[in-house]
């Protein structure tokens, strides 16, 4: 069983890597030499962090057999709270104040995730509906906090997103660290195994002595943490936050999770595949920006077609493996 599973993980991950390389080569050829420049790599690395983290959060929810539509709005709410806290207690950018604001935002992200998990597992609300409700709720709270305007953050806070280590933007490093941590957490620990088992078969998980409620709450809470971090990074990159910022990310994160090998019905999915899928999507999106006759709106349509197409492809592939 374990060997089969391992093979599957590797195939998902490897396929994504191959696709990534193919896309980078194709993009470099079609859009000229400026695609593969350092600057373009740096912009890509900065952008992908936000929805990359949210995709990991969504993937975790999907592995437990659920879905999380509220990721973007948790991020926005945490960003708004952090921004307001900073202007209230550290208008000159005192380090301790900023640190406190970040910790507060992350704590709130954890609470939001826990609320999702509680609704899904203990109360028994279908995950799609629970997170749809909290998504309205969180976006509503952000609107109330911001009076429907966008909130500016002090310039000192935006320094974070511009920092670089050996030419690699700091946000991207955060993404890589998080991806590694969560890969290990879901792939190698008992907790990860529980998350997968709850997604495959909740009844069997219960008979195996797993506390399903606790596991699901943990998964969503960790998702909330990732969203809060994503919110802080986007606040730092864009230097402002608005209730409906990045609403197209919802579609994108679902696409990434499915591309990365997660099964929307739960149980399957590993973080390395998801993380590579994030890179693939960023390359696609960057490549589309370089093509002048494709405007931003087509991107949504393309993501939709990609999602349906990839799921169909997987359907036939899985059918083949089952027969064998």
């Amino acid at each position: 069983m374990t060997t089969v599973k391992k093979l599957k993980i590797n195939s998902d991950f490897l396929r994504m890597l191959v696709i990534l390389v193919v896309f980078i080569v194709a993009a470099t050829i079609t859009s000229g030499s400026n695609f593969f420049s350092v600057v373009s790599f740096q912009t890509m690395a900065k952008q992908l962090t936000e929805y990359g983290l949210m995709s990991i959060a969504l993937s975790m929810a999907m592995i437990t057999g659920g879905i999380d539509l509220s990721t973007v709005y948790i991020a926005n709410m945490c960003g708004a709270i952090a921004s307001l806290t900073i202007s209230a207690i550290a208008p000159e950018g005192q380090f301790i104040g900023i640190l406190f604001a970040c910790i507060l935002a992350i704590a709130i992200g954890l609470c939001c995730g826990a609320l999702n998990g509680f609704l899904v597992s203990v109360v028994g609300v279908p995950p799609m509906l629970a997170t749809l409700g909290t998504y309205e709720l969180f976006s509503g709270i952000t609107i109330v906090l911001s009076n429907g305007q966008s909130i500016q953050v002090i310039p000192q806070f935006t320094v974070f997103a511009t920092l670089e280590v050996l030419g690699i933007p700091l946000p991207f490093i955060v993404f890589v660290i998080m991806a590694v941590i969560f890969s290990i957490l879901l792939g190698k620990t008992a907790f990860g195994r529980r998350v997968h088992l709850v997604g495959v078969n909740p009844k069997a998980a219960r008979f195996a002595g797993i506390n399903n409620e606790k596991t699901i709450i943990m998964a969503y809470t960790l998702g909330g943490f990732l969203c809060a971090v994503a919110g802080l990074i986007s606040l730092s990159r864009v230097s402002s936050v608005k209730a409906d910022f990045g609403s197209s990310y919802v579609m994108m994160t679902i696409l990434i999770a499915v591309l990365g090998g997660c099964n929307p019905a739960g149980g399957w999915g590993e973080i390395p595949g998801v993380a590579t899928a994030v890179l693939v999507l960023q390359v696609i999106s960057q490549w589309l920006t370089a093509v002048p006759w494709i405007n931003g709106y087509y991107r949504q349509a393309l993501y939709g077609i990609l999602l349906l197409g990839f799921m169909t492809y997987k359907f036939y592939r899985d059918k083949g493996t089952q027969r064998r």
């Binding site: 028994g124 609300v125 309205e136 509503g140 609107i143 109330v144 709106y297 949504q300 993501y303 359907f315």
Partner: protein, 337 residues
Amino acid sequence: MNKKTKRLLGRNEFYVAAIIIVLALIIQVISGQFIAVNNLVDLARAIIVNAIYALCGLLAFVSTGADVSFPMIAGMTTYIIFKVAEVTSLPAIVLVLIALAIGALCGCINGFFIVKYHFNSLIVTLSTSAICYGIAFGALKGVRIDVPEAFKGFSKWNLFTVRSNITGLGAKMHGAILIMILLYVIAYLVLRHTMVGRSIYAIGGDEISARRAGIQVDRVRFGVFVVNGMIAVIGGLCYACMCKNCSPMEYYGGENIVIAAIVLGGVRLTGGHGTLLGCLLGTFLLSMVSNSLTLIGVSVYWQNVFIGLIIVGGASISAIQAKRSLKASKELGKEAA
């Protein structure tokens, strides 16, 4: 008698109606404007489009699962039809038929992927929604356009105008409400009195049993999504004609409030449960909340918070009820054994 009251108390619609009455009283006491004729007519006017969309939501949830594509199908199709009407001079009836055909086509795409591959309906409809969004904004630019000549008549069709003595304000009732009523009557007859209608509930309640009972599960499910596409288009056309212009952006994201409304009305997301009356009451309650917030002096910024709380609260109550009834039926089974 006792049994009857018990059954009434067990129904979701009863609670929603009770909440509506209590809320109406509160708003009336605070603002004194709730039962003004113009407010009531405005409310009735406000629920038309969402009530039509609620039919899509009801059919999808009862038979299969979530459908979030109807607002964008409606938006894209209405926009295309208005564009077509601008360049050609086709009569309105032909245009409506074309619109229905486009809606049905979008529904076919949904139905195909959901029936053939058994994909999660939320993800499939989210994808079609994204594709429609891309077509409406990318390919067709998606700017605001006025109602074309062919629909001007319908757009200006007011049934009656009322003027309230309390507030001194007037309100017009748009003819689209007749379309809504017609759709609900048809839906009632079909869901209640035909094989197809009963099949829709049966496949949502227990797909395997339905299959064994000889119901063509795949065909019914496919049909539901095709019909959903057409209902969505009707709703979209009504909305554009009532606003006297069409901007696809206004349709974007309209699914949340509709899903909230039908969940309030007692539609269970696990399938097989839900009534038309519940849909109407749920839609009415939500419209009332969002319309009346300003009447009682609450800032409009709080609207999303309230909607979110209502979804979370309503869904929790119905989830707890479902759990309890499952437990009760299990205990009954034990006793019988």
